[in-house]
């Protein structure tokens, strides 16, 4: 997207931030559109939190430029930015009631007192906390505290809402509910959400687009589907869901299909990727749910097949999780639906054939 276009909410150009000797954010350039739910995904130390703090204004970039809603943010302190942050630990003021917490931003902005009340009530209604306005934060559950933090930020109608690991402190059940709720909330208020998370499932579920960061660098940016089905690097492939990989060398490139020689296994096929030559080292990756496990050596439509030994079979409700050992002693994971009943299940120690279609694999330069 053209970064000067009017539907850009945030533009970062070549932004670099150092903390002592380490480069926390390294020449980061990205554009976030108005009204989109944008996730920044990465492991700890990837620079994603620093990126958020740069947007909030708690830190200033060493070089590069940040533009929010068309305004350069150079030297603009947090209290004069059109953004609000939902903190990881919520950072609710413990000495103020829920209503006082939510009213704080409006009060600081200088809104006349009679107008504050209705706004606060509306915001609490929006996060389903009406009736709890006189409680102290310490009297609320974790999920309720999080909704207060959301209301406290959203009541100010910021152009951008920044969220730092918003669901990190919640238990799993609540997290799944809040993923859906947060996304619905974002669609309802139409505000740009920028959410930092280390949880790939969270990022995939909630975001319209996401950026994957590692060591301060932007590795890939795209829709959840693009990132999931076409990871641009081995790191992205392994970070977004569990992936199996085989190291090898390009043997032949035949238009859409590349043949890869894998030591100890033979030839496997994968869709071609640009910029590779014969002899180049590559990784063939494939997701556990795309693998097929069979006792029958017939190829039956699968273009790739490896004889394996089942090392472990784990019952997991709707599917079986298998760990299988390849002839070159690599261990892969395979997930097979349990719909077919018990007869087709494999047990540890059994021999089997692992099969997949060429189109399901992703070829990555190493």
């Amino acid at each position: 997207m053209d970064e000067t276009s009017t539907d850009a909410s945030i533009v970062m150009r070549e932004v670099t931030k150092r903390h002592g000797d380490t480069v926390a954010v390294d020449r980061l350039s990205l554009t976030i559109r108005k009204g989109e739910f944008f996730a920044i995904l990465g492991p700890s130390g990837s620079g994603k939190t620093t990126t958020l703090r740069l947007l909030a204004g708690f830190e200033q970039p060493d070089s590069g430029e940040i533009i929010i809603e068309g305004q350069p943010m150079q030297g603009v302190p947090p209290n004069r930015r059109p953004v609000n942050l939902v903190f990881q630990n919520y950072a609710l003021f413990p000495h103020m009631t829920v209503a006082q917490n939510v009213a704080f931003g409006l009060e600081m902005k200088g809104l006349p007192t009679p107008e504050i009340g209705p706004h606060v009530a509306e915001a609490l209604e929006m996060v389903r906390l009406a009736g709890k306005q006189d409680r102290l934060p310490s009297q609320l559950s974790g999920g309720e505290q999080q909704r207060v933090a959301l209301a406290r930020a959203l009541v100010n109608r910021p152009a951008v809402l920044l969220l730092d690991e918003p669901l990190g402190a919640l238990d799993k059940q609540l997290r799944l509910e809040m993923e859906v709720e947060l996304k619905a909330l974002q669609e309802r208020v139409g505000i740009t959400f920028v959410c930092v998370t280390h949880d790939q499932e969270e990022a995939l579920t909630m975001s319209d687009r996401l950026a994957v960061m590692h060591h301060g660098r932007l590795l890939q940016i795209g829709t959840p589907e693009e990132i999931y089905t076409a990871p641009a690097s081995a790191f992205v492939a392994s970070f977004i869901g569990v992936s199996n990989s085989l190291p090898g060398r390009v043997q032949a490139i035949d238009g859409q299909r590349t043949t890869v020689a894998v030591e100890g296994i033979g030839l496997v096929h994968a869709p071609s990727c640009t910029g590779l030559r014969t002899g180049a080292p590559v990784l063939v990756t494939i997701r556990p749910e795309r693998l097929h496990l069979s006792r029958d050596p017939a190829t039956d439509g699968y273009q790739n097949q490896i004889a394996v030994r089942v090392a472990k079979a784990i019952y997991s409700g709707n599917e079986m999780h298998y760990l299988v050992t390849l002839p070159n002693n690599l261990t892969w994971k395979a997930r097979v639906p349990n719909a077919d009943g018990t007869a087709k299940r494999f047990h540890a120690g059994e021999s089997a054939y692992l099969k997949w279609r060429t189109a399901e694999a992703v070829l990555l330069p190493e």
């Binding site: 909030a56 204004g57 708690f58 302190p77 947090p78 209290n79 004069r80 953004v83 609000n84 942050l85 903190f87 990881q88 630990n89 950072a91 609710l92 003021f93 413990p94 000495h95 704080f104 931003g105 600081m108 902005k109 406290r152 930020a153 100010n156």
Partner: protein, 282 residues
């Protein structure tokens, strides 16, 4: 058996309780009794009940000393708070490895006897002392400063002596303050001064109260500092009591003064705590 269930543990309270009763409770009761007695002709105690010791405190001469003591103690507390807060804040926000060193510097004066340090202040504040010499060398004053034996000298000495008692509880409160709360206020459009008045100050209130109480009580009853730095002209209650016991040899009146001072301190502390709403400390 868990440590909580150790029934024998309750006997551990006997030695401190006995010590308190014997060496604090009994003398206090004696002083109370003496405060209602009459001074003998030659300074002894005659056990004739009277309220006269208390009514004679209403003499303007003594009231003025009470008033000056209260004023100096309040001023000392305010100055310590104003000076101690930024100091405690800087220490609490310093990198972890620096905090210990900075706190150490705050308590280093305690290594030397308080009397010796107060004598040092006499040398600094004297007419031809360090401060006066330095100021006139800089051309800021042209004649010796008559600082020693004034209320100002007493105030300087009290602030110097009790500042650490303000800094330590403030540090303890500020160190616990979650920095993300400050950032949250900043993010929610608060200007730096508003961040301080709306978030930092209310959340460090227990430290402010503890610091004020710890500075106010010893300031009000100060003896050494006004004696050495204030001289005869700047007497505080502590000096008045000492004077009654040892110079005038009017023990009953000295005892009455002591009890009025104690009542005053108790009232002031209760007021502080009530004002701060600190039910936990009562």
């Amino acid at each position: 058996m868990s440590p909580i269930q150790l029934g024998g543990g309750r006997w551990l309270i006997v030695p401190p309780a006995a010590t308190l009763i014997l060496f604090f409770g009994v003398p206090l009761a004696l002083v109370l009794a003496v405060s209602f007695a009459t001074r003998g002709t030659y300074g002894g105690i005659e056990w004739a009940f009277t309220l006269g010791n208390y009514t004679s405190i209403a003499d303007p001469l003594y009231l003025r000393i009470f008033w000056r003591s209260l004023w100096l103690a309040v001023l000392t507390t305010i100055i310590c708070l104003v000076m101690g807060f930024p100091l405690a804040y800087v220490i609490a926000r310093a990198p972890q490895r620096w905090q210990g060193i900075l706190l150490f510097l705050v308590i280093i004066p305690f290594w030397t006897n308080f009397l010796v340090r107060t004598y040092a202040w006499m040398f600094i504040l004297r007419s031809e002392g360090l401060l006066s010499t330095v100021l006139s060398a800089l051309g800021l004053t042209h004649e010796p400063l008559p600082l020693l034996f004034t209320d100002t000298a007493v105030l300087i000495g009290l602030v110097y002596g009790y500042l650490p008692f303000m800094v330590l509880p403030l540090y303890a409160a500020l160190e616990r303050l979650d920095p993300s709360l400050i950032e949250a206020a900043w993010d929610l459009y608060a200007r730096p001064l508003q961040v301080f008045t709306r978030v930092v100050l209310p959340l460090s209130k227990p430290g402010v109260i503890a610091g004020c109480v710890l500075v106010f009580i010893p300031s009000l009853g100060a003896y050494v500092t006004p004696d050495l730095l204030g001289g005869a002209r700047s007497m505080m209650i502590g000096n008045l009591i000492q004077h009654q016991y040892l110079v005038v040899r009017d023990w009953p009146f000295g005892s009455a003064l002591s009890f009025v001072l104690m009542a005053g301190v108790l009232a002031a502390v209760l007021y502080y705590l009530r004002a701060g709403g600190e039910r936990g400390l009562l």
